[in-house]
Every structure is written in structure tokens, then in C-alpha cells.
């Protein structure tokens, strides 16, 4: 009888230990991210033929796409050779006429079919821009589009296959509020559905996250702006792990910003990280956005590898995997566009 009791106790201890171990693998707390590599003097300026303001950067084939937020010119998207940074052309004619884009938003890049999907929040549609049409006709105006519905529309996404895109969607809750949810869009039917895991604490404004997908490695990652959280899920939407930083749950008033962007390179996740107040006063006492100056690098299981400190605040970035480098749009450098090389395996 005594032996049975001892055996039962041992069995219980074994089960508890196993459970705790598996939870550790899913819930990862990283208080110390202190392996810092300074690359301030390794940033190489990119001198471009045309000037542009704050923008989002994408890469498709050998082309670097610069998508201006509010465009300062007649066209909203500029194309450069990603290897030489030579200007190629501009597209997305800004306007209210047929085939013109009234209020451009983010871009979805269909690399396989060489298509850019450009959101137009003025006309509430997503325009189809085939890359060949853009390159052959500098005044190209698209004719194909899909509607962006009021209730739920995908805002930042990547393609899972020819017809399905995964990404973060805006879910309108009322005239003055929204949240963001993981969603799946079928381009053939234009049906958007809520999809996959969402962290229970990342709700309301905290649900805003940056998204990236890797079909090759069978996962997608969400890096949150208002909570120090990164979630990694498999392509079926199941949680692989939550990665928490030192600012987790320290941001009740949402004044701090954490992740601002994310991209993937070989077997690594590279995310821009602020970890400080999102709005600051400049020398003229004007409120302005605060941008990150560093990247956190993780492996695809969310384990912290290193911090890359650029020494300059930047607005956005993209990874040029073929050339093993990061291209960023910096805030406050004479040449805002610059790049630095990575030495990942």
C-alpha cells in the first residue's frame, strides 16, 4: 500500500513537471535582451533620383517598391532596382477618376503572380496592379479590383497560395472604434473570415500588430504595437508560442509602443522595436511620433538571438533576402533611405 502511494506521488510530480515544461515552451518570457550589436557606422546611404516622404518598403523580384503614405506627388508608388537602387518608374496615379487611387493604403505583394494589390481607402477597393503592366506603361490605370467591406477588411497580408491571403484585418465595431483580428481572404470569392489564434489580452487598441507569413517554414508571426508581445502560429492558425518582453502588461494607458514592423530572413524573425513612448515632444514642443532605432532578432521558435542597434530612428524597413541586407527609411538622416548588411547564416 505504501509503495502504491509513493508511485502515485511520483506520477503526479511527473505530470506536473511535463505540463510546466510544455507551458514554458508556449509562453516565453524574455526579460533580458542584452546582446547588442551596434551597426551605426555600417549604414550605407542610398541616393535616389527622386525624393519622397515617409513610406512603406516592399520587395518583389528585383524591384524595391516605395509606397508613400500620403503621396507628395501625382503618383503614390515608386519602383527602384533593388540591387543598384536606380529609379525605374512610378505608378498608382492619385486622383478621383476611373482607375485612379484616391487614398492609397498598404500593399499586398503576390510574388508568384507578380501582382501588387493596392488598397484605396477612398474608394473602398483593392486595386490589382500587374507588375508587367506597371513596367510597360507609366500611366497604367488598373481596371480590376475587389471591394473592401465596411465590417471586416484585410489591411496587411501575405499570400498563402494563388487565391488565399492571411493577414490582419480591420473589424469595425462602431462609427468611432475598431479592432484588428487575424483573418483569411479568399480573392476568388472576396470573402474575409476571422481566422486563427488571438491573444486574450491583445484586444481593442492593443490588437494592432504587424504581420508576416512564411509558407516555407509553415508559420506566421504577429508583433504587437501596444503590448510587448509577439505571437507565432502555424499556418492552420494554431498557437506555437507567445513571446513576452519586459514591457508586457506595463502599458495600460497605451502610451508606449513596442513592435513597429516585422520581416523574415532565412530562419530568423527580424522586428523593429521601440519599447518607449509612442509620441514625444520635439525641440519646438510639437508632438511627434517616436520611431525605433533597433531591431530584435529571433529564431522561428521565438528565441531571442540579438539586438541590432542602428543609432538612427527609422520609419520602416524591409529585408532583401537575396542580398542579405535590411533597407530602411530613416528619420533625420540627410539621405533617409539606407541599408546595412546582415551576417546571418
Amino acid at each position: 500500500m505504501k509503495n502504491v502511494n509513493i508511485l502515485a506521488c511520483l506520477l503526479m510530480l511527473f505530470i506536473i513537471a511535463c505540463k510546466s515544461n510544455s507551458e514554458e515552451k508556449i509562453e516565453k518570457f524574455q526579460k533580458h535582451r542584452d546582446k547588442i550589436i551596434n551597426i551605426e557606422d555600417k549604414i550605407i546611404d542610398i541616393e535616389t533620383e527622386i525624393l519622397f516622404g515617409n513610406c512603406f518598403l516592399y520587395i518583389i523580384d528585383d524591384i524595391l517598391i516605395v509606397a508613400e503614405g500620403p503621396s507628395r506627388f501625382d503618383k503614390g508608388i515608386h519602383l527602384f532596382d533593388k540591387n543598384t537602387f536606380k529609379y525605374i518608374t512610378s505608378t498608382v496615379i492619385i486622383g478621383k477618376g476611373p482607375g485612379e487611387v484616391t487614398s492609397p493604403g498598404r500593399i499586398g505583394v503576390d510574388r508568384k503572380n507578380r501582382v501588387l494589390w493596392v488598397q484605396d481607402h477612398g474608394k473602398k477597393v483593392m486595386w490589382k496592379f500587374p507588375l508587367d503592366s506597371i513596367l510597360n506603361n507609366e500611366m497604367y490605370k488598373p481596371t480590376d479590383n475587389i471591394d473592401l467591406y465596411n465590417e471586416l477588411f484585410i489591411e496587411r497580408f501575405s499570400f498563402l497560395n494563388d487565391s488565399i491571403a492571411l493577414g490582419k484585418a480591420v473589424r469595425v465595431l462602431s462609427n468611432s472604434s475598431f479592432d484588428m483580428v487575424m483573418a483569411k481572404l479568399n480573392f476568388n470569392t472576396n470573402i474575409t473570415e476571422v481566422y486563427g489564434y488571438g491573444h486574450p489580452e491583445a484586444v481593442g487598441r492593443k490588437s494592432n500588430s504587424q504581420f508576416k507569413l512564411s509558407v516555407k517554414n509553415n508559420f506566421y508571426v504577429n508583433c504587437y504595437g501596444y503590448c510587448d508581445l509577439m505571437t507565432i502560429c502555424d499556418l492552420d492558425g494554431n498557437l506555437k508560442c507567445n513571446v513576452y518582453g519586459s514591457g508586457w502588461l506595463n502599458n495600460k494607458d497605451n502610451k508606449n509602443n513596442y513592435y513597429k514592423g516585422v520581416d523574415l530572413i532565412s530562419n530568423y524573425i527580424i522586428a523593429s522595436y521601440l519599447g518607449d513612448a509612442g509620441m514625444i515632444f520635439d525641440e519646438y514642443k510639437r508632438l511627434k511620433s517616436n520611431f525605433p532605432s533597433k531591431f530584435l532578432v529571433f529564431d522561428i521558435d521565438g528565441n531571442y538571438k540579438e539586438t541590432i542597434e542602428t543609432g538612427h530612428k527609422f520609419f520602416c524597413f524591409c529585408v532583401d533576402e537575396e542580398n542579405n541586407r535590411v533597407i530602411a527609411y530613416f528619420d533625420g538622416r540627410e539621405n533617409p533611405l539606407g541599408y546595412f548588411n546582415l551576417n546571418f547564416d
Partner: protein
């Protein structure tokens, strides 16, 4: 004796630190609600008068407005909302209480050199204000008058004929303040 020397040294260091902290504090020139009403305003010569799409020097303009009561609003001209929701609205709000030609609405329009082409191309056509617009490309007006403040409500104020600030507040943010401006205008006319 040795201890008393050490004690004196510590006291001396503490006094130095204390006074240097105090000095630093007095150097903080942020304008506040308490300090704005004692200020006298000057118009730097580097400002330019924006007349439609033309720029003019302000020398003669300054002498023209010397004896007038003036309402001044500092506007950052870097977005359409700044022009439509601030400049145009403030102008029409103040115009509704202006009794005569002796009173002026003046806008200090902050536009950096880098943004000037964009401003003239896209934002200038949206200006519907009838008030005087003074172009400032480097925050010279606020710098020379020590008016830098994070409080947007303190960037709109009234100055009397001696250029002293006698009322402050942005009527778009705080609609009730318009009655205070109206009261001050009446008082100035009766004088």
C-alpha cells in the same frame, strides 16, 4: 578638525549642486498659463507676408499695425487639417466678433523650407482665411518671443496696441473663450 573640514566640503558640494539645479530650472523657458500674460510680442524681420501666392517683406506691414489690437494664432502648416480645421475655422470664428478695421487677425504659419513646395502646391489653395498670414520657416516668431509650449491652447492669443498679451486661448478647442476675447475687444474700443 579633519572631520569639520570634510563636513564643510560636503556642505559646499551640496550647495553647488542645489544652486546648479535651480539655475537649470530657471532656464526652462516653457511658456505657461501663468507667464503668458506678462509677455510683450515682437515680430521678427525674417517673417514674410504671404499674399495669395506672393511673398512680401513685413517692414511696412509692421508699422501699419502698430497701434492696433491684434489676435495672433500660430499654425503649423504641415497638413490639410491644420489649414481647414485650424486656420480657416479660427479665422471665421474671430471675424464674427471683430467690430471694425482697427482689429486684426494674424496667423503665424510655420512651414519648413523642405515642406514649402509641397505646401504651396497642395495646402495653400485650401486657405480661405481673410486674416494676415505671416510665413515663418524656422519657428523664428516663437523662438524670439520665447513662446514654445506643448499646450496648443496657448498658441492663440490677443495683444493690445502695446503688443502685450491680454488674452489667450483657442476658440476651436475651448469655445467659451470667444466671449472673453469679445469682452477684451469691447474694453479696448471703449479706451
Amino acid at each position: 578638525m579633519k572631520n569639520s573640514g570634510l563636513y564643510s566640503l560636503v556642505v559646499f558640494v551640496v550647495i553647488v549642486i542645489f544652486t546648479s539645479c535651480k539655475y537649470q530650472d530657471s532656464n526652462n523657458n516653457d511658456i505657461t498659463k501663468d507667464t503668458i500674460l506678462i509677455k510683450t510680442i515682437i515680430f521678427p524681420n525674417s517673417l514674410l507676408k504671404l499674399n495669395g501666392t506672393q511673398f512680401q517683406r513685413i517692414d511696412s506691414f509692421i508699422s501699419e499695425i502698430e497701434d492696433k489690437t491684434k489676435i495672433i494664432s500660430i499654425i503649423d502648416g504641415n497638413c490639410m487639417k491644420c489649414i481647414v480645421n485650424q486656420l480657416n475655422k479660427i479665422d471665421s470664428t474671430f471675424n464674427s466678433i471683430m467690430p471694425g478695421d482697427d482689429n486684426l487677425v494674424i496667423f503665424i504659419l510655420n512651414v519648413s523650407k523642405e515642406d514649402s513646395i509641397y505646401f504651396m502646391r497642395y495646402l495653400q489653395p485650401a486657405i480661405k482665411a481673410t486674416g494676415i498670414i505671416l510665413w515663418d520657416n524656422n519657428y523664428n516668431f516663437e523662438r524670439q518671443n520665447n513662446l514654445f509650449t506643448p499646450n496648443v491652447n496657448l498658441r492663440t492669443f490677443m495683444i493690445n496696441n502695446e503688443n502685450r498679451i491680454i488674452q489667450y486661448g483657442n476658440p476651436i478647442m475651448n469655445p467659451d473663450v470667444i466671449f472673453e476675447y469679445q469682452e477684451k475687444l469691447k474694453m479696448n474700443i471703449s479706451k
